[in-house]
């Protein structure tokens, strides 16, 4: 299904992308020191029309930062971000604003992503009104329509967010993201804050909307079962860098990077035979802080297969013979 030389314009693209946060702090001698946190540290990622790309990785590896940077909600430190072929890297907020209707975001916590002082109807109409896509009357009709699509009663438009449960709020947040018919949606762990019982429903809603509106997703998650279910492609992130990328089948059934192997080994398999024969390269220790610069491979400190070359050079993400499964590890570089 995936064409190795897909010539369609990517929807979203990161090119050697780096996003750094610098924080100034006084050290113990009272001197001002600047620490640089390399949240995203050289990512190349291409997301094609209609794809659902899943981004997985440990907490703090930079998934959210990468997702926000693709929408230019973060300042780009180095490299480039493109959307539908146009370069967003250095654009000002004023120039980005009209572009924003085409790319949207769903946040992790539906209890903090909706303005408590605005009625649901106002929140949902906002994307249409600020971009001049509808009159107030038209917006009201579109709000009723989208509420129905996400599975809520259109009569709730006059209520405030506090009247809703987490699952209902996430439906509202999703409705806000898709009401202006964007091309691209970044969903940042959109079900991990919800009750187990509603997670599947929200996941189904994402799949339904993808069909209905021909959406392209970047789906951030740490639940590998969810990823297998929803993703066309998986990217594994470690300390600001993508270390492995490919179809869910190839990445999960044939993980190449020692980090991916360890990540998968940490998940119990539902199949008891597999579960017993599960290899056990459990992830040792903590990842290094993104504030310290690393030379060589950033995983080598926790890697069971570290070689001398790993300390000397930083492995690039290179595609294998099949042209889709890519890995950044010297074990697989010829």
């Amino acid at each position: 299904m995936i064409d190795p030389v897909d010539t369609r314009l990517p929807v979203s693209e990161a090119v050697a992308l780096k996003v750094q946060y610098s924080s100034r702090r006084r050290n113990c001698l009272g001197r001002l020191t600047t620490t640089t946190i390399r949240a995203v540290d050289g990512v190349d990622l291409t997301i094609r029309p209609g794809e659902a790309v899943a981004l997985v990785g440990e907490s703090g590896c930079g998934k959210s930062t990468l997702g926000r940077a693709l929408l230019r909600l973060e300042r780009v430190s180095e490299g480039a971000v493109r959307f539908a072929g146009s370069d967003l890297t250095g654009l000002s907020e004023a120039i980005l604003r009209p572009i924003r209707r085409n790319m949207q975001m769903v946040f992790q916590d539906p209890f903090s992503s909706l303005n408590p002082r605005m009625q649901i109807g106002e929140t949902l109409a906002e994307p249409l009104l600020v971009h001049g896509l509808a009159s107030k009357a038209e917006a009201r009709a579109r709000v009723a329509e989208i509420l129905q699509i996400v599975g809520l009663d259109p009569a709730v438009a006059g209520r405030h967010p506090h009247a809703f449960s987490g699952g209902q709020r996430q439906r509202i947040a999703i409705a806000r993201a898709v009401i202006a018919r964007p091309k691209f949606v970044v969903a940042d762990e959109p079900i991990s804050a919800l009750d187990i019982s509603v997670q599947a429903q929200i996941l189904d809603l994402f799949e339904d909307l993808k069909e209905r509106f021909a959406l392209t997703y970047l789906f951030i998650s740490h639940d590998l079962a969810v990823v297998r279910h929803i993703a066309d492609r998986v990217a594994v992130m470690y300390l600001g860098r993508i270390v492995e990328e490919g179809s869910p089948e190839s990445v999960f059934d044939n993980p190449l990077h020692p980090y991916t192997q360890a990540l998968l080994a940490a998940v119990p398999s539902p199949d008891p035979v597999r579960e017993r024969s599960r290899p056990n390269p459990v992830l040792r220790g903590e990842p290094p802080s993104p504030a310290t610069a690393v030379t060589g491979c950033r995983f080598r400190g926790r890697c069971a297969h570290a070689m001398p070359v790993c300390a000397m050079a930083d492995p690039a993400l290179a595609r294998g013979a099949d042209g889709t499964h890519a890995v950044a590890c010297f074990l697989h570089h010829q």
């Binding site: 909600l73 907020e93 909706l114 002082r117």
Partner: protein, 283 residues
């Protein structure tokens, strides 16, 4: 459990007492001509320094007694509530508008905007207010509006500081980032997202700033730089009565009590409001 609900009920009773005092004060100001026994400036030189009715030598005609010109204290108290309440409310509102705006700009934009506004706040706090007020009223020439402006200058700092602190916590909420992701412009974000979620401390500061403004207005009249002292106001009455404290204590005492009671009412109401608006308290 009982301890909590008792406290809750007592809290409500206190809030209602505060509201009752405020409503009574406002009603007195509004209906002054109907309530006052005689006009406030009616001079009766035959009835100078008459003590209150409930004191030996007092007269039923003048319940709270008369001043050195024979003017009825009760009538002057009733009419005087107009200036005191109007000045207190207007100054607190103007201070709220200026201070909230400055606090929002400082908190939201940070950097140089914050540094500049914070500098003004620090200077204002470091500078003795009375000196500033005397200087400004000397330049502006007194009068109702001048006093309101000067008092607003005294209170805006309170609002600016609490609003700035509140904005710092509001602006990092996901819903503000969500607004940017949707494409909402800066003015609308400031108004519907930042300001709308920063109002709780504004209301609380407004209650004690009103009290502060009433007291400061009295102090300014006392210093003789406020509103024309021939217009009855509680502050001006305090000022008039100070020379007679030995001979006729009632001239200064009753306006002093009126100020204290009003300030108490406003503060009770403000405390109650603060507890009600605290998201951690039960509703």
């Amino acid at each position: 459990m009982t301890g909590f609900s008792n406290r809750f009920l007592i809290g409500h009773a206190v809030g209602i007492a505060g509201v009752a005092i405020i409503v009574a004060a406002v009603a007195i100001a509004v209906f002054a001509p109907l309530i006052a026994p005689v006009p406030a400036s009616q001079i009766d030189l035959h009835a100078r320094l008459v003590p209150p009715a409930f004191v030996e030598g007092g007269s039923a005609k003048h319940f709270f007694g008369t001043d050195n010109l024979g003017r009825d204290i009760l009538a002057r108290l009733i009419y005087g509530s107009r200036i005191s309440l109007a000045v207190g409310t207007a100054a607190a509102l103007l201070g709220a508008v200026i201070g909230s705006l400055m606090g929002i700009l400082a908190g939201y934009f940070g950097g140089r905007v914050d540094a500049a506004i914070s500098w003004f706040v620090d200077v204002q706090l470091a500078f003795p207010f009375t000196l500033l007020a005397i200087f400004l009223l000397g330049t502006l020439g007194g009068g109702f509006y001048a006093v309101v402006i000067v008092l607003a200058l005294a209170t805006w700092v309170n609002y600016a500081r609490v609003v700035r602190a509140q904005v710092l916590t509001v602006k990092v909420q996901d819903y503000v980032l969500a607004a940017r992701a949707v494409g909402v412009g800066t003015p609308r974000t400031l108004w519907r997202y930042i300001f709308a979620n920063s109002t709780a401390p504004i209301i609380v500061v407004a209650s004690f700033s009103t009290a502060q403004a009433i007291l400061t207005q009295a102090a300014l009249s006392f210093l003789g730089v406020g509103i024309d002292p021939s217009i009855p106001s509680w502050g001006a009455m305090l000022n008039d009565g100070r020379e007679y404290l030995q001979k006729a204590w009632w001239i200064a005492t009753f306006p002093g009590l009126a100020i204290a009671l009003t300030v108490l009412g406003v503060n009770l109401f403000g405390d109650w409001l603060r507890d009600r608006l605290d998201p951690r308290s039960a509703r």
